[in-house]
Symmetry: C2
Subunit: 433 residues, 2 copies
């Protein structure tokens, strides 16, 4: 597993942080040339494992190892091979490689299943290049329209990366460019599944801090992504008194400070990852600022309340900036993506729980069950969308310092192997049910 995982990371490796050959992060944006290379490798590898491989209109790749019966859909293991611009080697990649490892283990053990066993690589899960996360599992679940997804433009901040052309690509043009615009309709009807399991690093600190080995993921928190514009007035930095300014960047600064206050008070998160100020000159007060806002919380309703409060507060902040000249800033919100809180399927949760308990049962501690805990996911995953159509759940393993979306993201080979053992058993248990 470790060998295959690092082998697959030769395409798109990123920032070096240590001396070992594998001590680099990843920079493999969705539908980049490096993403194409790792996709080609994924198809070749799964074909060598006797899988039937199909590619759909969103570039999702489905590899299915047939079972005894042809009349039932396969049970899937899925995740994604794309990364953040400064991502690591585990987020998503581990989940797909776990699928390949399961296929290899089944072959080596001569294990047969009732239904088939599939591995799926979902396109642009990160939402880093095209700013809607899990978009392609979203189209598969028929929660997002194909037209919307195909038309989505890459974000300008990554446009300086080697993946991007001078004019921003759309998802469709990027799929065509790397020849992954498949013909299979992107839908759960055309690529059916019995269930979807996903192995992932936790990306947070709970397991690692508690010394626990497996998280049985029961739910995913809610989140909403917005793009906001603040419209103020360009003016001279040297001659314009503060009270004569409608400084869009100053308004932004106040909004970002306020967003953390409001979110924290409600046990939620609010984050800005992208900001652009125009015209971008040292001595011009910016008249236009665009930024992304990512609001998350354990309940859909809580996220809505943070949003509501911020809409009011941002209006107040905008109104105050430029009031002195009767030309206050204005703020415009666009909802890019809405992912309500999700509860996973009890059958899948049970299969994962039983498998996890079994896998850790020979650990040298008195209460092995304490090594496994139920957990909610802070991040979104393709399992959010598969859960809309088929029984779904996830498995978490610990990662160093709870760190993710960072080149130093790391899980030990042992923890990864534990995760693969759990997902293998969960799939087999589900298949038997």
């Amino acid at each position: 597993l470790a060998q295959d995982l690092h082998h697959s990371c030769q395409w798109g490796y990123g920032i070096r942080w240590g001396n070992n050959p594998t001590d680099t992060g990843m920079q493999r944006l969705a539908l980049s040339e490096d993403d194409k290379s790792v996709r080609d490798w994924f198809i070749q590898t799964t074909k060598e494992l006797n899988c039937n491989v199909t590619v759909d209109q969103m570039g999702n790749i489905f590899a299915v190892r047939p079972g005894r019966r042809a009349d039932v859909p396969a049970t899937f293991i899925g995740s994604h091979l794309d990364t953040q611009p400064t991502g690591g080697r585990y987020d998503g990649i581990l989940g797909v490689l776990a699928g390949i490892e399961v296929l290899k283990t089944m072959r080596d053990m001569g294990l047969e299943t009732e239904g088939g066993v599939g591995v799926v690589n979902w396109t642009n899960e990160e939402g880093a290049r095209f700013p809607v996360s899990m978009i392609s599992s979203g189209v598969w679940a028929e929660c997002i329209s194909l037209e919307h997804a195909h038309g989505l433009k890459e974000v300008p901040t990554v446009a300086s990366l080697p993946t991007a052309a001078s004019a921003p690509e759309t998802m469709k043009s990027a799929l065509q460019k790397i020849k992954y615009l498949g013909e299979t309709p992107c839908s759960y009807k055309s690529s059916p599944m019995a269930a979807h399991f996903e192995l992932h690093i936790e990306q947070g600190p709970h397991l690692v801090t508690a010394g626990q080995r497996v998280g049985v993921v029961t739910a995913v928190q809610a989140y909403r992504w917005f793009r906001l514009n603040i419209i103020g007035r360009d003016t001279h930095t040297g001659t314009t008194a503060f009270e004569h300014r409608a400084d869009a960047l100053y308004a932004f600064a106040r909004m970002m400070v306020r967003a953390r206050e409001v979110a924290a008070a409600k046990g939620c998160l609010a984050s800005v990852g992208i900001v652009e100020a125009k015209p971008g000159s040292v001595n011009t007060v910016p008249g236009l600022v665009s930024f992304s806002l990512d609001i998350r919380g354990p309940e859909t309703e809580l996220v809505a309340r943070v949003e509501q409060e911020l809409r009011a507060d941002f209006d107040d902040i905008a109104a105050a900036e430029g009031a002195g000249i009767g030309k206050p800033c204005r703020v415009e919100w666009t909802l890019d993506f809405d992912s309500p809180a999700v509860k996973f399927h009890q059958d899948c949760i049970d299969c994962v729980q039983e498998s996890a308990d079994a896998v850790v049962s020979d650990a040298p501690v008195a209460d092995t069950k304490s090594l496994v805990r139920p957990i909610m996911s802070g991040a979104g995953h393709d399992s959010v969308f598969t859960s809309k159509r088929v029984p779904t759940s996830m498995i978490f393993i610990p990662c160093k310092d709870g760190l993710s979306h960072h080149p130093e993201e790391f899980s030990t080979a042992e923890d990864c192997a534990t995760g693969v053992s759990v997902i293998l058993q969960a799939v087999v248990r589900y298949d038997r049910r």
Copy 2:
């Protein structure tokens, strides 16, 4: 004057804001193709006015109409033809066009002078493309080294504009590209002047608010430009609690809010025009932010005190962000440009004052002298650097709403004509002295 001015604005006109043909701003970044076109026109026009034209190693263009005596240097009128990315038709442009208008008037009047009368177009006064304002008059004054200036890179935020190549240009490569890397050494020794006068729009609200017609500029406030980096840690927006973050963009937001507080308390200004957050992904907390900081105040010492206080406060803000994980943000400062407060030369001030009083003397008000006032400049101008080597002063005229560095920047043709009359007389008065 108005005809020539708008004619010269055909090269690099910017954002349209009204229905008249001339109701657009300007986007003529230094050493762009449009800047080349207007430079070519400037040379052709001044040559037709019997000027001797030279271009120095910074692309400064000196056009001299000879006087009676060849043994004394010319008295110059100077300003700049480059603009902000969202600039207007008056900032700098009026000053150079006033010089041409003076030459034309002298020709039409058959006016002879003792020394010659020169018009100079200084390169990259704005500091918008290459982030040091007045850099080429700075090299001429031998206050900035030629090597430093030639090596200066364009700012990345304007790199998306049509002027810029994919890799950032240096001033030298940009000069070569438009064939304005002249052979004359860039120095007050090679291109000597008797004095330097500059006509400019106020760029602030004082004259227009008071209904005054001419500002006799006696001084220029101090300013310093910095580039700051905040180094935090990339991490996941959905899984990382606020207390586990070293969010460089959140630290930036707090710094910008604080900068205004500190500057305001000292009667100074502090402004951010450029900000970049990396890696620039919706769901990654930015681990690196770079931004420009422009601090200004009426006294050099005050600017230094604002800087000192902000250095301490920014360190505190950085230290607090990431303290929870023992990986606080760090902040690094680079001084890009330092322009101490300037007092202009009394002889030049006197010439301007007498000329202004004379020009407004037939206005239909009781106390015509009240239409003229002494004023300090909030913005920097090439006159700051010429004042280090030769007697210098400036003339301000009102502009609409005190607005500048904005497409709608505007002064009436009458106010512009008043300004030209004043500078013409000031030059003649100086020449007679």
